[in-house]
Symmetry: C2
C-alpha cells in the first residue's frame, strides 16, 4: 500500500489499539471502530507478559509466537514512551509457587524446559522464595524465580495507546460495526470506505466474518482488583502465580498498593455477570498463596469475554482481499500485541511478517482452508 | 411542645428518617441534617425485623424493646403506605437452618424460649425444611420455621421515608453538623435555632454529645447484594439464617430475584473498605446454606459503621434540655425505628414513652448517670 492509505481497525482492545497506534505512527489514516473502546477483555486482565510460566511442553506454536512478541515488547514500550505515553511496563519478574510435592515436581520440569529455551528460571525452596516475597504463605513448599517475565499495567497501556493513536491523527468511531465487506465498514452511523480493514473485535469477531464464524468463541474471565490498607502487608513486588486446587491463580502488583487477582475461565457465552463462585474461588486461591490479602480492600470485580480459538493460537492474516484478521488472542492479547501489530504492518507493506505468525493462519482448519492453500 | 415547633433531626439513617417522617406528619417543622442521607448503616443492611431469631435468653431488655417495635411495625408500614409511600415490608417469615447436632439443639432451645414468649416457632427436620425452601443445602439437618418474622427492603423504606418527610414539608440540609448545643445546630452552612434537637447520627453520635462520647462506637458491617441469573435457582422465599463456622449468616430475599447476604462485624473504626476476608466468608457461608447462590451475580459489596453500645441497647431519651438521643441501635435500627420514632414523639408531647424504652436511658452507666438520676 502506497501513499497515505485509509485503514479501518474494528475493535479497540489492546490488539486493535496496538495496530492503530503503529499504523498511525507509520503514516496511515486510521479509523478505529468500537462502541466501548478499551472496555473488553483487555480491560479485565492481569497484564502478565508471561509466555514462559504459562507454557507447557506441547504448546510450541503458542510459545514461539509468545516469545517472539515478548522479544518485541521492550522496543514497543520504548517507542510508546518516546512518543510521550507511559506504557506501564514492569520488569519485576514472576515467581511461581508450589504447595505440594506434585506441584514442585511440575515446577522442576518447567524450569528444565525453560532453560532449554534459553530462559532464566531458578528452582528454589519455599524458605528461599519467602526471602524474596515475605508475604507468601508458610505452606508454599517450593517455587520458581523467573526474572525475565514482564508485566504491564493493562489500563495504563490502553490509555496510552488511545492517546498515542489520537496524537498521530487517528480517529475513533464509538459505534458498533454491523458489517465489513471488501474494505468497507458499515457502522451505526453509515458506511465508510477504506484501503484495508483489520478485524480485531475479539470475541465478537465471529459475527463479522463468515470465515471466522464459530471459530472464535467467548470465554468468560473474571478478575478482582484489590488494594492494600493501613496495617495490612504491602503487595508482593513480583507477579505471583500458583495452582490452587487445580485452578491457576495469579496476583499481579500495580503501582500504588493495588493488585490484580485473576482469573476464572468459564464457557458462558457473552454473559459478563461476576459470579459468587468466581469471586469466592479467586479470594480463596489468593489467600492460600498470600494470606495477608485477607485484609485488603476489594476495589473492583469485573468480567469480560476473552476470544478463544480451538488451538489457543490467534487468527492472524488476510481473510479476504483487503480484510485482515487479528483476533482470537484468548488470554494472550497483552503479550501478543506487539507481534500482532508488527504483522499487520508487514502485511500492509507487503513485507515478510514476524516469525511465528505463519502458524496462526486465520483459515487453518476452516471450511475455506483448501481454497486458501491453493491460492497460496 | 405546643403550636408548630421546629425540630432538628441530626442524621438521616432509618432512625432519623422515621422520626422526621412521624414528627412532620404530626405537624412539626422538621429539618434533617445529613451530608449523605440514607447512605450509612441503614443502607448497608439486610432488613430483617427479627428480634426473635436473633434473641438468646439473657438479652431480655433488647428483646423486649425489639418485640415492642415489632408490634408497632405493621401500623408504621400501613401509615406510610396510606400516605402513598411503599414501605417495602415482607411478611414471608424466617427459617433458621442447623447443620449439626449442636446447632439443632440450640434451635430446640430457641423454639421453646420463643413459645414461652408467645411466638410461633416450629422445629422441623432438614427434609421438611427443604420442602419449604428447596434450595437449602442437603447438609442442613434441621431447622426452625418462624412465620411471624418480618423483613423490610431497607432501601425502599429509606426512600419512602425521605419522600414522605418531604411531602409533609420537611427539609433536608446535606451538610455535616459540627456542633449542637441547647436546641441549636451548627452545620457547615451556619447555625440555626430549633425548639428541640434529636441526635440520630448513628456511629457519629459520640462526636456530637459529650454524654455519649466513647459510648457509641463504630462497628463495621459488610453486606453483599446478589442477583439470580438465567439457569440459576430462584432465591429462597423467606429470610434464611444460620451459623456457619460460628459466624451468623443471613440471606434476605428482595423483589426481582435479588438477595442481600450479610453480615460481617469488625471493630474497624470508621473504615468502610470492603475486605477480601469479609467477602470470602460471606460467600462461603451462603454457599454452605444455599449452594445455588454460587451461580448468582455479585451485584454490590458495601460496608458501613453500625452504632454499637456497650450493652446492645440503644440510647433513647433526653441528653440535656431540648436535646434528645436516638442512637446506638447497632444492628437493630430497622427493627427499632417505629418504637424509637414513637418515643421521640412522646417525649416532645410530654406523654409516656413506649414500653421498653426506659431501659435505654441514654445516661445509664455514664459519668453523668448519678446527676441524671437525681434530676429524675
Amino acid at each position: 500500500m502506497k501513499g497515505n492509505p485509509g485503514l479501518a481497525v474494528v475493535g479497540a482492545g489492546v490488539i486493535g489499539l496496538a495496530i492503530a497506534w503503529k499504523a498511525s505512527a507509520a503514516g496511515c489514516r486510521v479509523t478505529v471502530f468500537d462502541p466501548a473502546p478499551a472496555r473488553g477483555a483487555s480491560w479485565v486482565a492481569g497484564g502478565m507478559l508471561a509466555p514462559v510460566t504459562e507454557a507447557w511442553p506441547g504448546d510450541e506454536p503458542v510459545l514461539e509466537l509468545g516469545e517472539e512478541s515478548l522479544r518485541r515488547w521492550p522496543a514497543f514500550a520504548a517507542d510508546l514512551a518516546r512518543e510521550g505515553f507511559d506504557p506501564g511496563l514492569s520488569l519485576n519478574g514472576t515467581v511461581v509457587a508450589a504447595f505440594d510435592h506434585a506441584d514442585a515436581e511440575q515446577l522442576g520440569t518447567l524450569a528444565e524446559y525453560l532453560r532449554e529455551l534459553g530462559r532464566e528460571a531458578t528452582f528454589v525452596s519455599g524458605r528461599a522464595l519467602r526471602r524474596e516475597e515475605p508475604g507468601l504463605s508458610a505452606s508454599v513448599r517450593a517455587g520458581l524465580l523467573v526474572p525475565g517475565d514482564l508485566a504491564v499495567d493493562n489500563r495504563k497501556l490502553l490509555g496510552a495507546l488511545i492517546d498515542a493513536t489520537r496524537a498521530n491523527g487517528g480517529t475513533f468511531v464509538t459505534e458498533p460495526v454491523s458489517e465489513l465487506t471488501s474494505s468497507r465498514v458499515r457502522a451505526a452511523g453509515g458506511e465508510r470506505a477504506f484501503d484495508a480493514v483489520v478485524l480485531a473485535a475479539g470475541a465478537w469477531s465471529g459475527g463479522l466474518s463468515a470465515a471466522l464464524a464459530g471459530r472464535v468463541r467467548p470465554l468468560k474471565g473474571e478478575i478482582l482488583r484489590m488494594r492494600t490498607r493501613r496495617g495490612a502487608l504491602p503487595p508482593p513486588s513480583r507477579t505471583v502465580r500458583a495452582f490452587v486446587e487445580g485452578r491457576p491463580v495469579y496476583l499481579v502488583p500495580r503501582a500504588g498498593g493495588e493488585l490484580v487477582l485473576g482469573a476464572t475461565q468459564y464457557e458462558a457465552g457473552f454473559d459478563t455477570a461476576v459470579t459468587a463462585r468466581g469471586v469466592r474461588e479467586l479470594l480463596e486461591g489468593a489467600e492460600r498463596i498470600f494470606p495477608g490479602i485477607a485484609e485488603y480492600e476489594l476495589v473492583e470485580t469485573a468480567a469480560a469475554p476473552r476470544a478463544a480459538s480451538a488451538d489457543n493460537l490467534p487468527y492472524l492474516g488476510e481473510l479476504t482481499d483487503g480484510v485482515f484478521a487479528a483476533t482470537g488472542h484468548h488470554r494472550n492479547g497483552l503479550l501478543l500485541a506487539p507481534v500482532t501489530a508488527d504483522a499487520v504492518l508487514a502485511w500492509l507493506g507487503g513485507e515478510s511478517p514476524p516469525k511465528g505468525t505463519a502458524a496462526a493462519d486465520p483459515l487453518r482448519g476452516s471450511a475455506t482452508d483448501t481454497t486458501h492453500r491453493e491460492k497460496v
